[in-house]
Amino acid sequence: MKPSGIEMKGDICMDILVCLKQTFDTEEKITIENGRINEEEAEFVINPYDEYAVEEAIRLKEKFGGEVTVITIGPERAEQALRTAMAMGADKGVIVDIEELEEQVDEHTIAQILAATIQEEDLDYDIILCGYMAVDDGSAQVGPRLAELLHIPHISTITKLHIDGDQVTVDKDVEGDLEVIESTLPILVTAQQGLNDPRYPSLPGIMKAKKKPLSRLEVDDLDLDEDEIAAKTETLEVFLPPKKQAGKVLQGELPKQVEELVQLLRNEAKVI
């Protein structure tokens, strides 16, 4: 069943945007070189929360028809993340290369560039999906910031999405509790774990993805001046937490070990 409000648009029923970031695989160890995170030999993946967003977007397309556009900002390597999303089923990609930017970027910069890209590429949207946060910077800012810049509502950390006409119903995870929220299109939602189980790209999908359209933009192509996108915050230092010393593995009969543990927690660690 097609939602009535969307049917009127003709062949392309739903315009769906997904903003994604390429991140380190979560199994990667982090090391620092010259004051920066060392990226050499790291495995990169689509940020896991963004992957839920991609999957949900493709499911919407499969249900209602339409077009899924995936957008990323990053160095050239991030193109691989777009190709993966297209191999899953997204229709086209847009990458904004920011390697030329000499200044640091922050969430303000990224949200501004995303909003300008949507405008520059003339991308229509009924819904925009993002991951609720990236597993690297973990600030959870870009989705809500983008929604504000586009003057549309947002709902974050969703675990279920239902669309009927222009009516949107979501389940939102609220620190373990659940809220059922209603709103209308257009809207931006951010994906929480549990929203879906992302598919693996199929081999034919991977072959097809190579031929799908990809726009490559640079910041100069956008209607933005440097002042507008200059980061509002600065990173002063990157460091690793002090290495934790492996502790005491207790010995002896189990009941004795448990007794000793309770004494240690009480008298040495003083946490109970």
């Binding site: 303000h108 597993v135 950390t157 509790d177 502790g247 593995v249 189990l254 109970i272």
Partner: protein, 326 residues
């Protein structure tokens, strides 16, 4: 230089969350003799004034509109923005919680501000305010500062100590009636389903008892829950346990999932994949219980017991009952 500081106080079940008091502690330090204003939303707001005063607020702005009893991004955005316009603060702090994490970026975007999220410590160096926050879920950290203008940050629960209660402190109170643009209240909460037990929130719990694949089933979490209940803590889980369907993803601790820093973390039947360690290794004291003496989790544990969790956890619960006299 003294500063005018505003905090948005997080409320849950009509009570202040601890993180509200932690924000006040940050605010007092940054204010450096200046004024600390706390704003609190919802019909219970007036009942919370005294506690805010006792923990560092000089002035409390209550916004009691019924639209704010249930959090929605749009209503909180409008109310918070009006409070900010009224207070004209030099610095703003909120918790990095379902509320602060959601409304702050929208406010920052509207007002063209930088925002430093999820801060675990704050220091002042030569007059510059420097925030420390984890990246890669705590595998590394960054120190950040706002370049110029208004300072805006969200504070991770359970990392900064609240000020001791000072019952002699009082605050001036102001009730602000906010006018809402109804066309811009675009989301409606139809239903709230409580899934967390007893209101002990995983991210704020002092004690977390966490289970991995070793718990083997949904029922396997029961002894963990008993232990958590005894210690006033919360139950968490590894990705393995969630993926296996033993528990809800809401319990997952790790680089995907929640990052926790309780005083005591008890890992039961968790091998210690790097993605899980990222979510808990900054806990103050870690206990590992695992059958496999080679399990990674022992590398970060302060105390380890090699054994079957289904034997060890009930013994531990019994022993604690004795010692705690419960």
């Amino acid at each position: 230089m003294s500063k005018n500081v505003l905090i948005l106080a997080d409320v849950r079940d009509k009570k202040l969350r601890n993180v509200a008091l932690e924000c006040l502690a940050v605010a007092r330090m940054i204010a450096d003799g200046g004024k600390v204003t706390a704003t609190v939303f919802g019909s219970s707001a007036k009942d919370l004034v005294e506690q805010l005063a006792h923990h560092g607020a000089d002035h409390v702005i209550t916004v009691s509109n019924p639209e704010l009893d249930q959090y929605t991004s749009d209503a909180y955005f409008q109310a918070f923005k009006q409070v900010i316009e009224k207070v004209q603060p030099d610095a703003i702090f909120t918790g990095h919680t379902a509320v602060g994490r959601d409304v702050s970026p929208r406010i920052a975007a509207r007002l063209g501000l930088g925002l430093i999220s999820d801060c675990t410590s704050v220091e002042v160096q030569d007059g510059k305010i420097i925030f420390t926050r984890p990246i890669y879920a705590g595998k590394a950290f960054v120190k950040k500062a706002v370049k110029e203008g208004l300072i805006f940050a969200t504070i991770r629960p359970n990392n900064i100590e609240a000020l001791a209660t000072d019952t002699s402190r009082t605050a001036t109170v102001e009730d602000l009636v906010v006018s809402f643009d109804k066309d811009l209240l675009r989301t409606i909460v139809k239903e709230v389903v409580r899934k967390t037990a007893d209101g002990v929130d995983l991210s704020e719990a002092r004690v977390v008892v966490s289970g991995g694949r070793g718990v083997k089933s949904e029922d396997g979490f029961k002894p963990l829950q008993e232990l958590a209940d005894l210690l006033g803590g919360a139950v968490g889980a590894s990705r393995g346990a969630c993926d296996a369907g033993y528990c809800d993803y809401g319990l997952q601790i790790g680089q995907t999932g929640k990052v926790v820093t309780p005083d005591l973390y008890i890992a039961c039947g968790i091998s210690g994949a790097i993605q899980h360690l990222a979510g808990m290794s900054n806990s103050k004291v870690i206990v590992a219980i695992n059958k496999d003496p080679e399990a990674n989790i022992f590398q970060v544990a302060d105390y380890g017991i090699v054994g079957d969790l289904f034997e060890v956890v009930p013994l531990l619960t019994e022993e604690l009952k004795k010692v705690l006299g419960k």
